[in-house]
Amino acid sequence: MGEWRLYGIFALMFFATWLTRGAFLLAGERVRLPAGMQRFLRFAPAAALGALIAPELVGGTGQPLDFLSPRLVAAAAVVLVVLRWRNPWVPFLAGMGVLLALQHLGR
């Protein structure tokens, strides 16, 4: 059963992502999103991304917080690079480069 668990979850996730994307396409023009709701939903991506990224950088479930972790330093490099260059490859190269360099030095 464990083998198929993930496939089952992916099938359910299909509906979760399909229905959010399709919300108003599927309903046709009968339903409109109220303006107040639209303003609130605007914050959802930033909130979700912040909540997911922070533990990856500083310390997740069961881990101590580490504000000098190599991941956090690498993330700072990514932020600088994203603000400066539009090339989509640079952040990945910079982030992985800094992370691997720090891990190498630490060893």
């Binding site: 992916f10 359910l12 992502t17 108003f24 909540a51 922070a54 990945f92 982030g95 691997l100």
Partner: protein, 234 residues
Amino acid sequence: MSALRMGLREGVGEILVFSLGLVPWAIATGIAMRASGLSIGESLAMNVLVFAATAQLGTLPLLVSEAPVWLILATAAILNLRFVIYSAAMAPAFHDQPWARRALGSYLLVDVVFLVQGPGLLQEQDAQRRWGRFLGAGLWCWGTWQIASLVGIVGASWVPEHWSLGFMGTIALLVLLVPMCRERVMLVTALAAGASALLLRDLPLRTGVIAAVIVGLVAGYLFERRQQGVAREQ
């Protein structure tokens, strides 16, 4: 040439340059799925079924830690909430299409298609040509995405584990977040959610994530109200 085929050709042309931006993202997503421990088959299934990079990358830590299914689904839906706004904006372009096309369109709607075509598509009067344009752009992005992530999914096998390639997923999420935070209220929202996620990281079943998202939403809402209050007084 039929209106549909004309639209298809037009749609691919419109999206071509922008679809290149998907490539590094797709490769990173492919690698991150494998680095989290998904098999090649599982990664492919997730890529085709879920087809939403942010939801895929964001739920990987939850999938790995065997978080409850409802939390995984709720996180995927929250990460996709921006599409509710997109789909509200796109709905007029689909109102005269049959249900099957609206259903397929919902699956194919991704950020880049909305950002490139969104406003222009509504101007197109011919329903066949309008559907063709969307379908052309959507299918092109789908194909680009699937092929590029396949490179990451298969390529990840040859990279040694201590290279921490899973971090590519975190980088991809950061690349999405940083431009949003040029708007002050989004920065406040993200910081509030991030700080709460750290404080609440030991809540059972990883429910801290959802609690932190709610804190972020409320912080953003309050900050925007204060900003507007200040603007009114001046």
